[in-house]
């Protein structure tokens, strides 16, 4: 018994991936096995092309760190056919000229997220500072200085896993996870940083909180962030936090 794995080594930066059959209605395109920016960027580039191609019968195109999940209607399609269609769609030789030119929408957007760091908004900031051997102010400055990429959303609706954390701020997860992390908490877990869209249990270190709603099912789109977006954090004080919170309720 063996999972079907079809290597595809075509031309172009995106084309080098394997197609793994996950289920009767799901394929996993694999670009790598680890967490790194370059692999993740290829996942997002591929997702973008497949979304624009608007292939019929495909319902979900969901990026993860190094893989892209594709779900389709198993009554209309089989995995082999979908896999071949995807390969053709991604192969520059099969694409029409107008699809090869980079357009404005191919440039990922930058979303600025205001964060109230430390104190009750970020109860673990001193623990992070101690681990990093930095002052609290330096931790804030370094966290807010970086530009991050939304590698994927998961864990809960709208929870972004962000790549790009300053190596000095990498901190192992808490020994004992919290049963309740407040909505909007900005946290560090290992080499990643993320934002809790609602109150959830969690083992990451809480360094701040954003007043923005990461997820609202009544909003279009429901999530503040999409896979592949770039993110910057901006430090705000408690007054500005309250102003945002008032505005959004």
């Amino acid at each position: 018994m063996k999972a079907e794995r079809k290597p595809h080594h075509g031309a172009g930066a995106m084309a080098d991936f394997t197609v793994e059959t996950l289920a009767e209605d799901a394929l996993l395109l694999r670009f790598g096995d680890g967490i790194d920016m370059a692999t993740n960027a290829r996942v997002h580039a591929t997702a973008k092309v497949l979304r624009h191609a608007n292939l019929s019968g495909i319902s979900d195109i969901a990026p993860a760190y190094a893989t892209l999940l594709v779900r389709f209607d198993p009554l209309a399609w089989d995995g082999d056919t979908v896999g071949e269609t995807i390969i053709k769609t991604l192969d520059p030789g099969f694409r029409r000229d107008d699809e090869q030119k980079p357009s404005k929408r191919d440039v990922s957007r930058v979303v600025e997220i205001p964060v109230c760091y430390g104190d009750e908004c970020g109860p673990d900031i001193d623990a992070v500072a101690e681990h990093a051997g930095l002052s609290r102010e330096k931790v804030i400055a370094r966290h807010a200085a970086a530009e991050y990429t939304v590698a994927m959303l998961g864990f809960a609706p709208g929870f972004p896993y962000l790549l790009g954390l300053d190596a000095a701020l990498h901190v192992p997860r808490r020994a004992t996870p919290r049963t309740r992390v407040p909505a909007g908490s900005v946290a560090i877990g290992g080499a990643q940083t993320g934002i809790y869209p609602r109150e959830l249990p969690g083992g990451w270190h809480l360094i701040g909180r954003t007043p923005l709603a990461l997820f609202d099912p009544a909003r279009k789109p429901p999530c503040l962030l999409a896979p592949g977006d770039r993110v910057r954090f901006r430090a705000i004080d408690a007054d500005e936090f309250a102003w945002f919170a008032d505005r959004d309720t």
């Binding site: 996950l22 997702a47 993860a64 190094a66 893989t67 099912p217």
Partner: protein, 320 residues
């Protein structure tokens, strides 16, 4: 028309065919765990196949109907009483205005479906009326029913009010089986299991644990081990995945499973058998038998044809 919840039952949720299209935002599909049972209940109420119905778990609800309604129960066998009188399941049944519909304790299986003519009228959330309890998403803010809830149904042309004298044979759709043998497709990390574990996966029974739910069925059986530890980062997940955490005890994913996960996948329950997975209750046993993707897809499409035939037949009977 209005239906009042008197007793919620153990875990009763509003479900339709699910919420596709949002996996990239970390949002799963949810939807009826036993999808054919939902479709048949809807067919018996002259509803579209994906209309919203109740998914009932182990212990039934008690509902007060303020208006006349046609209802149908499918899925696991459960006693149905209307104003104290026993009524058939797997058939359209009339509940008069003012009547109390009482569902008892399931004799076997784990999930029953109650559809009402017109379907439950709740506002769709991201295109679906399915409840995702784990993600707190869907109608009723993603929570199960509770006593005091008032549910509305869509007002549609009423069904013929003549009582029917037939009921469907549930056996093709709810096999009474002490041990369910589920077809298992190869998972990405199956080959990484020790040879002894690969054999045990198919030779030994697994028992469904108490802490199982719509996220997944936690199974207890022989300890399964990898030759070398599998290091992996979070990857896409779908219902039916048989995941092996470090405990060595597998978890079979259900409709509320996370959209991504970082534990190895040793198998994938064939889509055609997910309805039977849905009907395993804590304490029930199941076995796995190997299956190819081609055979699994053929079985799924055969079942779809049988379902469509059944739906067409029911529609013909209801309009006769």
């Amino acid at each position: 028309m209005t239906i009042e919840v008197i007793k919620s039952g153990l875990l009763t949720t509003l479900q339709d065919a699910g919420r596709p299209g949002f996996a990239h935002l970390g949002i799963g599909r949810a939807g009826a765990f036993d999808a054919p049972a939902l479709r048949i209940a809807n067919a018996l109420c002259s509803n579209p196949r994906d209309a919203c119905a109740l998914e009932i778990t182990l212990l039934g609800s008690t509902l007060h109907f303020h208006d006349d309604a046609w209802i149908a129960i499918t899925g696991a066998p459960i006693p149905l009483r209307i104003d104290g009188v026993e009524r058939p399941t797997w058939a359209p049944v009339f509940a008069a205005a003012g009547s109390t519909v009482e569902l008892g304790v399931m004799r076997s299986g784990c999930r029953s479906y109650l559809a009402v003519h017109g379907g439950f009228d709740v506002a769709p959330v991201l295109g679906s009326r399915s409840t995702d309890v784990n993600a707190q998403l869907g109608p009723l803010a993603g929570r199960p029913l509770r006593a005091g809830d008032e549910l509305k149904t869509q007002v549609v042309a009423s069904m013929a009010s003549n009582p029917v004298n037939w009921r469907l044979d549930p056996r093709p759709w709810f096999p009474e089986e002490p041990v369910a043998t589920l077809r298992l497709l190869p998972g990405s990390h199956f080959d990484r299991l020790k040879e002894t574990s690969r054999k045990l996966l198919f030779s030994e029974p697994f028992v469904v644990q108490q802490d199982s739910n719509r996220v997944g069925l936690r199974l207890s059986g022989p300890k399964l081990e990898f030759g070398q530890p599998v290091e992996m980062v979070s990857e896409g997940c779908v219902p039916g995945i048989l995941q092996l955490p470090p405990s060595g005890q597998p978890i079979a994913f259900g409709p509320e499973c996370p959209v991504s996960g970082g534990y190895p996948r040793i198998g994938q329950v064939a889509a055609v058998d997910i309805a039977r997975l849905a009907q395993r209750r804590p304490g029930d046993a199941l076995r796995f038998t190997p299956c190819t993707f081609d055979d699994a897809l053929r079985a799924l499409r055969d079942r779809e044809r049988a379902l469509v035939r059944l739906e067409t037949g029911i529609a013909a009977r209801l309009t006769a």
